[in-house]
């Protein structure tokens, strides 16, 4: 046993010595830390590295050191870094909660930087709705970096097989129902192909709700949810495929969910509401079916054309150490990242819709799907940040939503229960936030 221990110690010591690698960073330059979501091994790694290298080669003052974390790990890493004031000089975050960080003083004021360097950023090229989210007390504390949008994807091959053409692509809810039923294929008890379901893909209750002019909260962030309009929308979602049992629908959905397969990409549903990322999935998998994208059908002629879209912000972190050189360098790099050319490159590398409208228009030229996606970004609205329930649309709502879908609660009961939960959270939040 002693021998084993000694052996282990010797082995780990020798590897530790071998493992000491020389510091090869360029010492004389000011180092700028930049965190992104393209780790070594990911598809976007090389492209991201090239973009950073091009900046480093373009000037002699700064050296940007990029570190990539996987998409699912990035958030934990940056959260711990921000709260311990060890954040990178520049990095990404979610755009809907910028004010929280701005208020806490962990972000540099971007408006100040723009004021002293007016030509640095083409602010007119960015979406106003996103800029609003990045604003705190009339100043920008972050810049929109990328945008997402939700659209209706439709499978043209399936349309053709059912004797339909592109002209039949629905624009209202009633058209959607009519067309969807023509596209269902059922064998025995089992659904083989589904025309559409308003709960599939990335369609959400609040997304449908917004189209009718309603929302979860009023302007003072009090939960609403208690009107007939709210009930009607939920009921419409529940009843859309009422000729099938919920377990048939779940089975069909689960069969797709295994391995995280998107039912549209797997050619199992004819139409689906999804984010722009589905376009990338289909492209990367080399799928060969014909499809198109269009705006999400609205309730009726008076329906509001709106979709839930979000995006990343790019932020400069102030760790309270007075690092003015780093701040200046991060600003230079931020300008570079937000420039026309680099935004175009980033769109190619990541498959994201970038915030720079001009750059995106160039990227999308001659690509009908991307052009159409881009058009819908203009109608994208992000969810409100509700301090007492940051995940009001997710964690807080999902249990009631699924109970309503399963038929355990009626639409009205589910909404009432959800509302009570928000009210309790609000009361508790206020009780601990008395100034």
């Amino acid at each position: 046993m002693k021998k084993l221990l000694l052996f282990l110690i010797a082995l780990s010591a020798s590897i530790a010595i071998l493992g000491c690698d020389g510091n090869t960073e360029e010492q004389e330059k000011i180092q700028i830390d930049f965190w992104h979501m393209s780790p070594v091994g990911s598809e976007s790694y090389t492209g991201t590295k090239d973009i950073i290298n091009a900046f480093n080669d373009s000037q002699d003052t700064y050296f940007v050191k990029g570190t990539g974390y996987g998409f699912w790990d990035y958030w934990d890493k940056i959260a711990v870094a921000i709260s311990s004031r060890t954040a990178p000089d520049i990095g990404f975050s979610t755009i809907d909660d910028v004010p929280i960080r701005a208020e806490a003083g962990v972000l540099y004021n971007i408006s100040d930087l723009i004021a002293s360097d007016p030509d640095g950023i083409d602010i007119d090229e960015l979406y106003q709705s996103q800029l609003d989210f990045a604003t705190y007390e009339d100043d920008l504390y972050a810049l929109p970096f990328s945008a997402t949008t939700r659209v209706l994807y439709y499978n043209l091959d399936m349309f053709e097989a059912a004797g339909l053409t592109e002209a039949d692509v629905p624009t209202t809810w009633s058209e959607l129902e009519t067309v969807a039923k023509l596209l269902d294929v059922v064998e025995g008890d089992e659904i083989q192909q589904l025309g559409f379901d308003p709960t599939y893909g990335n369609a959400t209750y609040h997304g449908w709700l917004w189209q009718t002019g309603l929302d979860f909260f009023d302007d003072d962030l009090n939960p609403t949810l208690n009107t007939q309009g709210h009930i009607d929308v939920l009921q419409w979602m529940i009843d859309f495929n009422s000729e099938y049992s919920r377990s048939q629908l779940t089975a069909f959905g689960d069969a797709n969910a295994m391995l995280g397969i998107n039912p549209f990409a797997g050619e199992r549903v004819a139409m689906i509401v999804e984010v722009d990322g589905l376009y990338q999935i289909i492209k990367n998998a080399g799928a060969t079916f014909n499809y198109g994208v269009t705006q999400i059908p609205v309730p009726d002629e008076d329906g509001i054309r709106v979709n839930w879209g979000s995006g990343f912000s790019v932020e400069m972190y102030d760790n309270g150490k007075g690092e003015d050189d780093q701040k200046a360098g991060a600003w230079e790099f931020l300008k570079y990242l937000m420039s026309y050319d680099v935004q175009m490159e980033l769109a190619e590398v990541n498959g994201w819709i970038m915030a720079h409208q001009g750059a995106m228009e160039t990227v999308a030229e001659g690509n009908p799907i991307l052009e159409r996606l881009l058009e819908e970004v203009a109608y994208a609205v992000d969810k409100r940040y509700v301090p007492y329930a940051p995940s009001w649309h997710g964690n807080d709502w999902q249990p009631y939503y699924s109970q309503a879908l399963e038929g355990e609660l009626s639409a009205a009961e589910a909404l009432e229960a959800a509302r009570n939960n928000y009210l309790q959270k609000k009361a508790n939040w206020e009780a601990t936030h008395q100034d």
Binding site: K2, D21, W72, I261, G286
Partner: protein, 291 residues
Amino acid sequence: MTETVLKRPKYRSRKRRRIIVHSVLHIVLVLCSFVFVFPFLWMLFTALKTPAELLKGISVFFPAEPQWQNFVSAVQKIPFFMYLKNSLIIVLSVMTGTIFSATTAAYAFAKLKWKGRDKWFIVMLATMMLPIQVILIPTFVMYSWIGWLGTRLPMIVPAFFGGGAAFYIFLLRQFFKGIPKEMTESAIIDGANHWQIFTKIMLPLSKPAIMTVALFTFMGAWNDYFGPLIFLSNPDHWTLALGLRSFQTQYGGQYNLMMAASILIMLPTLILFFLAQKTFIEGIKFTGIKG
């Protein structure tokens, strides 16, 4: 003479019974094995699929043409050997540190009488009752104060001081307490001190238990991605478990590569297990001692 004649049939029927029992055992074990091997087969088949086959989900269980090159690209897409080296540095250090700090503490709890021992024992158990999430940020802040960020120290040093070792201390204490008193008492009479008893009697006699601790610490450190993610600031220090997560991208990701890489990193654990369980056969079994 008469005795052997009488004994023979008995011996034979016993042998026959043993053959029957063993065959039944084999059948039971093979059936059970299938249940336990299934997840692995699933991994293997997924690793061998093409992206197009992945899209079909569960309707395709077997890959049409096994894509063995997925294993090659999984290794080539990441700096596999750098990550492997980093993993080994951390894993071997954690193993060494934990075995050292856990065996010593376990000896104190099992075989020595000291003031406050039972209270400290409860404290030790209590350290496992606090969900680690709530101490994550203060721990990180503390390491940044000490100046450990950017080094491997946060992953290595705590193990030598019983960090995360409560489980093993308790486990080893249970085993140490099972070692007969006569052995330690006779050693004391022979003039041995406690360190000698610890190294010459306790450790050799607890080989299966220490192998168990070695196996568990190896697995824990080898598969841990969250600790390295949070506490390693320098990507050149990244471990395999963390590096492999690059294949999991925003939209699903390269499942086939991920599974291929996962199979590669689970192999060392399996080999270690196979070796460890061998000590469970040899056993020490106190052959010299009368109970």
